[in-house]
Amino acid sequence: MAATRLVYGLYNDEEILLEAVKSANKEHIEIYDVYTPFPVHGLDPLLGLAESRLHYAGFIYGMLGTLTAFLGMTWIFTKDWPIIFGGKPYWAVPSFIPITFELTVLFASIGMVVTFYIINGLGPGVVNTYLDDRITDDKFCIAFDSHDVSDSDAEAFFRSTGASEVHEKEL
């Protein structure tokens, strides 16, 4: 696979970045990707990104946690090892609710984090390539693939939209 050569511009402010993305959309310049140090409101619809499906996974993990806790406690306290606590019946549903809630939250949160890491190729020991250190600090970046956008077009775009720096890098 041939290396992707990216031309990217760095912006100092998310408002300038949003305007730049709008003008790229208007001029039909294909954006390879946008990198920001924090989530920028309104960026997703501008880039035409579909809504994440992570919460569907979260719902399924959550239901799994609910069932694990509730059915688990039901089996333990009615079949496997019935014990009377505080004069309550074996199948004391109200006292199961707090643990059911906790396991729902636990399964949903851990499941979503692990799924997110796997989908994004993140995790302990994984070496990720990135365009610029400062993208995780205070710079907002728009990158073009040089197959789609010529260097001169990219240069002109960055100059007209107020990018503070323009660089290129092969990934």
């Binding site: 409101h41 309104g42 619809p45 501008l46 035409g48 809504e51 719902f59 505080g86 109200p94 006292s95």
Partner: protein
């Protein structure tokens, strides 16, 4: 993709709300229905104390007074927290909070009734019972007519004074303020900060007096929170419905789906918060199984099962499952439907808080409940009174076991009174204040 914040700037929002004659007539018809229903409950009651009338009156007065108090409370919390997103529709909460003056009059009627013995809503207000019942005697330092009348007038009065001041300053800010001078907003902040602890603590005391003391032998330290959460969700549902209504009439064109989405989130989140409090109160009492505490729930679970379990279905399961998704919180049809159902649901929640206790008291005082005999033995037998009364109310009692048409009519009447007052307040000032320092932040709001 369509970006909603781009479109609203194209249409200039309508400045002034026109409270049309047609709307007024509709709301007045609703109020007449309410008055008719109140009159029917008054004249149709043969127990000599008009208990059904008075309990309906108390139920609805408490419900809407609390909604007004919490509209002001959430507005003040938002002002204190430097929140800006709600600024485009802040006049709605201002107008709702001003309803407290009507709430004060309504609760004053109940309080005067307590003072002069017009009704028998509260067991602790019966001198003979207090003399012979150690529990009621022990609580008589707080549960007495002086506290009821004085607390109601003083506390609701103070809430109204503060919120009225905030409203006046807010209008002054719009007329005299500018984009650089925030001195008026600083004053609003001072009043808002003052309102939070005052309303927070005094509303708890009023909840104990107004609602919790209908079950005079019973108490729960969580009750004020639980009632407050119920009011909060109801208030958010009314806010949602009013925003949707105003937008459908062409007002608030710059209150976008983003704002609706956030109000929807608050309905969703506080429905869960309400459930959390409901369950916390229930589970501790269920688990500890102390006789004097369990009476409240035992009575409701055995004699009011439809309302008891329906309460959880309507106020938790429904909003939880439906509003969980992002997209449903942005669709006017779905979120409006849920708001109506949950609003009625929390009205039923208050019904369930008030009616069983009132009916129990009526039985006790009419001599059917053996309350005087058991009461005379003192605290250790106090819970038996609850058990005895439960035998007598296990049969269906119209207007108490389940709300009848007269109760629904009364609800419609009070709702129309509330809306009439809110729309009147809304029409007395412009709909939005461009000189609020957070106005432009609110226009930019994006979830």
């Amino acid at each position: 993709m369509d970006h909603s914040t781009d479109t609203h700037t194209l249409i200039a929002p309508v400045k002034q709300f026109d409270f049309t004659g047609k709307m007024k007539v509709t709301l007045i018809v609703g109020m007449v229905i309410g008055i008719l229903c109140l009159a029917l409950t008054w004249f149709g009651d043969h127990d000599g104390h008009q208990t059904r009338f008075w309990s309906n009156f108390l139920h609805n007065s408490v419900f809407f007074t609390g909604i007004a108090m919490l509209a002001g409370f959430f507005m003040c919390a938002s002002i204190t927290a430097w929140a800006g997103w709600y600024t485009t529709f802040k006049r709605l909460w201002e107008s709702m909070s001003l309803f407290l003056i009507v709430g004060l009059v309504l609760m004053l009627v109940v309080a005067l009734g307590v003072y002069f013995g017009w009704h028998q809503l509260y067991h602790w207000n019966d001198a003979h019972s207090v003399d012979t019942d150690r529990i009621l005697a022990g609580k008589s330092g707080f549960l007495n007519k002086g506290w009821y009348l004085g607390g109601t007038v003083l506390f609701v009065g103070v809430w109204y004074i503060i919120l009225n001041r905030i409203r006046a300053l807010s209008i002054k800010e719009e007329k005299e303020g500018s984009h650089t001078d925030f001195s008026i907003h600083q004053k609003i902040r001072v009043w808002a900060v003052a309102y939070l602890p005052i309303a927070g603590f005094t509303s708890a005391a009023l909840v104990w007096l107004w609602v919790m003391s209908v079950d005079a032998h019973w108490y729960s330290t969580l009750f004020a929170w639980y009632t407050g959460a119920s009011w909060f969700v109801s208030m958010m549902c009314i806010t949602m419905l009013m925003i949707l209504y105003m937008r459908s009439k062409g007002y608030y064109s710059n209150v976008t789906d983003e704002h609706v989405h956030d109000v929807g989130k608050l309905i969703f989140a506080f429905s869960i918060f309400w459930t959390y409090l409901w369950f916390s109160q229930f589970m501790l009492i269920w688990y500890a199984n102390v006789g004097e505490e369990t009476g409240y729930f035992l009575h409701r679970m055995e004699n009011y099962p439809v309302l008891f379990y329906g309460n959880l279905a309507v106020n938790f399961v429904l909003p939880f499952l439906v509003l969980m998704r992002n997209s449903t919180k942005r669709k006017a049809g779905i979120v409006g439907f849920i708001s109506i159902v949950v609003l009625v649901g929390h009205w039923l929640d208050f019904f369930l808080m008030i009616k069983p206790g009132v009916l129990h008291t009526a039985h006790e005082l009419s001599g059917h409940g053996h309350g005087h005999e058991t009461g005379s033995h003192g605290a250790e037998h106090g819970h038996e009174a609850v058990g005895h009364a439960a035998e007598h109310v296990s049969t269906f009692v119209s207007g108490f076991t389940l709300p009848g048409f007269l109760e629904l009519g009364t609800f419609i009447g009070f709702l129309c009174l509330f809306l009439f007052f809110v729309f009147t307040s809304l029409s007395r000032a412009s709909l939005q204040s461009e000189n609020d320092p957070y106005y432009f932040e609110s226009l930019q709001h994006h979830t």
